[in-house]
Subunit: 160 residues, 4 copies
């Protein structure tokens, strides 16, 4: 469970709808910004992940709870963390906060599969994996890969 | 549990991203189209619900499972049904199917609160409620209110 | 100067802004739909132009006059024609009409350069060119290619 | 003719299309950001213009020349100035520059009519007008109002 990374955006007129609030589908764009900036904060440029390392973070699930409306010209604080990191799947959790009032406007999550350009699932390259993997995350990942390895690792695990 | 209403859309270039597929947030626009056409199929024009009846169907939750990519120029069949209807909350369920191949591309759901223009929750006007409420839905609705009140309501209800 | 091709779209909630009308930038999405359907009406699938024939119709200029607002749930008639066709550049002209009232809402134009996937200008393949080229258009194109042909055309031109 | 105001945005994944570049219609969103930040830089909050002063800056014309593609994750510098200010109409001119390379990617312009909430043209309130009007602009505006003033200005105009 990583810490939140934070970035802010200002609501664009384009993002509002005739209800006078941000259109619900646009929160998923804010989530995109949140995870890209999360990655950047950890030393990963998503653009390069695609171009240089053939690693696409494809969205498999997305969800949002819309608690209070965001409005035109509001500054939104997007708080993003990785809630689960495995070699082939990543989960991000988000909070959208009105940066002026501190009110929580929305929470959400996305689940991703790492794919190559052709859309085939693949493992995240080591250089990125190292940046994601906290000791706990690495443990979680083990379950996916090799049981024997998992077994030996388990016994050397420090209490958390 | 209502039946699926169906409508189709063709994927716009605007809706793709540089991965060569529909951007994940745009599925929520397809869901919007699905529920508006669902309502129209039942004799409700969402535009009039807002303008004439001060009833706004505000999104409280939204989620999507992205199973297979939709691509530029694909014709998508949007299948929409009401999965739960109460006086103050509505839930819609969606399926997005590639209309040519029949493949299921995405499933999703949205939860809505009926509000007035000021954003205050309100009950859905009778004229709409009658169109939503199948016998089963009406029963489900009973659970929300007070039992005694519900009881009296049931017995005074005119046959629809 | 080709004839207008026509297609209709219904305004989505997503496309409105808090002014209660369609956001001005979204007219360019309607123009996109207009020209794609124009092409389809002439036997060209833009998707295949990209995939099979490495011909991308890149936008070099775009403009719109916004005469009257389009509103949520309006059915818009998009009228599209090719105002100029040459081997390497295409120009489209558009009209957006409220399909119910007949009011003209917007007019616009886009200028395009034919490019390959790498973004290099190229000539439109013959198979497409034939579909664009009315006798007049073909003549116009001649000006780009061969002067002598242009010369003879001038003298055989019928008064317009 | 005012000076350029500048602001930057980072290209979102959402804004790209399958050509791997920013979708042409999205430049008009960048223009929106440019003019809102222009106004803010002059002490005007567009949100308040609408809410407190019933002044909506409605788009009447929009155009863009797309010179070079903007790409995902690029930082774009949006340069905005007022090219003409009158009491009832405003014109903005824009340049979009790749902030890293300095390349000019797009130029454009929008023409606006000041309207009230009902969509009726109105004069810009004094408090805003004062912020727009440089001596030259004020002179230009005079042309709309009084011919004699216009006449004298013409004769005192320096050669350009």
């Amino acid at each position: 469970m990583s810490e939140f990374s934070e970035t802010t955006v200002r609501v664009r007129y384009k993002e509002t709808d005739q209800m006078g609030v941000v259109y619900y589908g646009n929160y998923f764009t804010y989530f995109e910004i949140g995870r890209v900036e999360y990655l950047r904060g950890r030393g990963m440029t998503y653009k390069e992940m695609e171009l240089q390392d053939d690693s696409y973070i494809v969205v498999a699930e997305s969800r949002c709870r819309h608690l209070r409306p965001a409005r035109y010209d509001d500054i939104l604080r997007i708080r993003t963390r990785v809630s689960r990191a495995r070699r082939r799947t990543l989960e991000f959790a988000y909070e959208i906060v009105n940066d002026t009032t501190g009110e929580l406007l929305a929470t959400g999550a996305t689940v991703h599969v790492v794919c190559n350009k052709a859309g085939r699932p693949r493992a995240l390259p080591d250089k990125y994996w190292k940046l994601f993997a906290s000791p706990t995350d690495a443990d979680e990942d083990a379950g996916e890969a090799a049981h024997s390895k998992e077994h030996s690792r388990r016994h050397s695990r420090k209490p958390s």
